[in-house]
Symmetry: C2
């Protein structure tokens, strides 16, 4: 694979538009990832290089990294070879992959559509076959959405299980380091290294819950395309499959709608983003693309008085998921409500363009619940890939990966 | 309280040496913290001020905060009044509170001894009666140790439950925002706001586990001083109290010694610290006090090849605690192995001065286990305070606080 990136597939690398920098960092050890190549989202530190975070002002105003991010080191010590750093939406605040400064990485499965973001280059590099896997970050969907869009596997781990040291924050209550891969076996092998946990050979699944509310907000053709794969998943586990609705789970059904999860997620996320990046934004006055410019104006002007209630609500939702999901249970939802948008069609204002609110209503479930989620490339609509997701209870990432691997 | 800080007790403020800055930020709302005053460790952002992190070079090389840390906003919206920012060990990497640039905040209960760190000023401000409570951060003991040293209450929450947005990181896999308070009621009220969870009126404790290994590494007089309080705690809960040893809990007893927990903790912490701060250290070449200078040299030169094995071991230890502690169980340990060291007696090299390794062997338990821990001021030795700690299973912070409140 690395030979390819060194030689005949340099034109593939260029065509993908996925890499801000191609280089080789040889493995620092030998282990379960021997022979595998990977790319690193340019939100994560590689020693000696500046981490650009998808924004030219950020690149200019920060010194070179002195050390690798801990997760990068874990992979190198396990035998993997790093072949480059990949594009990201500016400061990882985006779901689209259209970077006004650096372009839009190729979605090889649907070239007229966006790859999705913010781990756009990592998804593209994997989907184009340039690397075996790539590191991304996932705060509100930044691994899961591009994985679904590009027809590959993606993992968002339980919050806090994979080290984020050396990874630029966005909203720490939701930030995670995730993995994108072309095979579920590679996904599981990489996850095992980063989590420091063995992935069992089999998973004795007790129940599979299909979340009705989540399937209801997808496009009709997505729902239809996912019907057969979802049935296959249920049958595969021979588990008791049960369709549940948020409204069945809580006393106060008025409160329970995925719209509420989306709003709760955004309120905390927006406050955290400004707490993390406001000082730099005000000081450096960065050059933004149109959508990030609007995004950062929104978080700056955001009324923070709603945060305490959002935190309370987050915990109530979290508690609801904890009560629902036992350690051997899975939750099944569509990864995204639609396939990847056609390039250039997304609006500038995320409050208006419903792509963002609909997508975040699904991705917020794992964020709010601190749950691990794997997206599986199981279907296509309008010629574009679409993923289905399995989630497990908090901390049961190894079980989830075993279950996902057995499905595939 | 705020009137006091404005008026007659300004000399108390000065005497404490706890504050880098005294100011008033009025509450932004009304709620459960009405009438309470608090101080903020100068590792956390307050809008309009530079966050100094206990180091003059850091102060010089960073712009003013644009927003409050999310946790600071949560308190202001709940009715509390902020009266100042407090000293910290440099970049929060310390357990002592002796800051070569800014001095050592007063430990009013033992004036010849250090207050402990790194949340030294926050502990001092609370212990001196200047504020009702204070925010600290706790990565490896930075709330629990000064709380124990100064004879006050301290909470380290479960990892990930209280927002760290706007709080300077040290080692993200262990970083938490904690609370220091003079009463357990205030501690619980503040925690309820930050956690977004109600603290129940009572706690039905099933089991109290006394960790033998932890009591064994304390000084003999500490063990004697804690004996009666520990018995009171056991009796109070009428729970089945059971003495356990790490060696009873795992198949491979050779691996199980708190020394192993300490080493595992340090390996991950050191790698993460350099990943978080190495770029700034190499670029800004900060002026350090002797102990932080040595600390940062150690993390820079640290052999990172041991990190993957440390992560695996951390997960194995974490798993052991998860199997031991049910949702209604408590673990009881001494907070520190000795009372606060006498000022000026600590060594420069934390690999040599056993104060650090012994103390971290106790504080690493919550860090490794991602567990919440409350330290209670229950005893004194050699005229200096010493705390006992209760820990609960991960995520059961509200239960732990209810249990702690019922003890007091």
């Amino acid at each position: 694979m690395t030979d390819k990136i060194r030689g005949q597939s340099l034109c593939k690398v260029k065509e993908s538009g996925a890499f801000i920098r191609v280089m080789t960092i040889e493995p620092k050890g030998s282990g379960p990832l021997n022979g595998l190549s990977f790319a690193v989202k340019d939100l994560m530190d590689v020693a000696g290089l500046k981490t650009g975070c998808g924004n030219p002002t950020w690149l200019k105003t920060h010194p070179a990294a002195a050390a690798n991010a801990v997760c990068v080191d874990q992979l190198l010590f396990a035998g993997a070879r790093c072949v480059g750093k990949t594009f990201t939406d500016e400061l990882a605040f985006g779901l689209d992959g259209e970077n006004a400064h650096y372009g839009t990485p190729l979605n090889p499965r649907a070239p007229d559509r966006v790859p999705g973001g913010s781990s756009s280059g990592s998804a593209s590099a994997v989907a184009c076959g340039i690397v075996d896997f790539a590191l991304g970050t996932d705060t509100g969907g930044s691994v899961r959405v591009p994985a679904s869009n590009c027809g590959i596997f993606g993992l968002r781990p339980s919050h806090g299980l994979i080290s984020v040291a050396g990874v630029n924050p966005l909203a720490p209550s939701f930030d995670t380091v995730g993995i994108l891969a072309r095979s579920c076996d590679v996904l599981a092998a990489v996850a095992s290294v980063l989590l420091g946990r063995d992935i069992p050979a089999t998973a004795a699944v007790e129940r599979v819950y299909l979340l009705k509310d989540a399937f209801e907000i997808t496009d009709e053709d997505v729902r239809e395309a996912l019907a057969a794969p979802v049935e296959r998943i249920s049958n595969h586990f021979q588990a008791k499959t049960r369709t549940v609705s948020l409204r069945d789970l809580e006393e106060d059904p008025a409160e329970l709608d995925l719209r509420g999860w989306y709003e709760t997620y955004c309120r905390i996320q927006w406050a955290e983003i400004w707490s993390c990046h406001g000082a730099w934004v005000e000081d450096a006055k960065p050059e933004w693309g149109p959508r990030p410019g609007m995004n950062f104006r929104l978080v700056k002007e955001f009324d923070r008085s709603v945060v305490p209630e959002a935190v309370r609500r987050r915990e109530a939702y979290h508690n609801l998921l904890q009560r629902l999901l036992g350690p051997r249970d899975l939750l099944c939802i569509p990864t995204t409500p639609t396939p990847a948008p056609v390039k250039g069609t997304l609006g500038i204002d995320r409050r208006v363009d419903t792509y963002f609110s609909r997508t975040l209503s699904l991705t917020a479930i794992a964020g709010i619940g601190r749950l691990p989620q794997v997206t599986l490339p199981v279907a296509a609509v309008q010629g574009a890939p679409i993923g289905v997701s399995l989630l497990a209870s908090q901390g049961n990432d190894a079980f989830l990966l075993a279950a996902a691997r057995s499905v595939m």
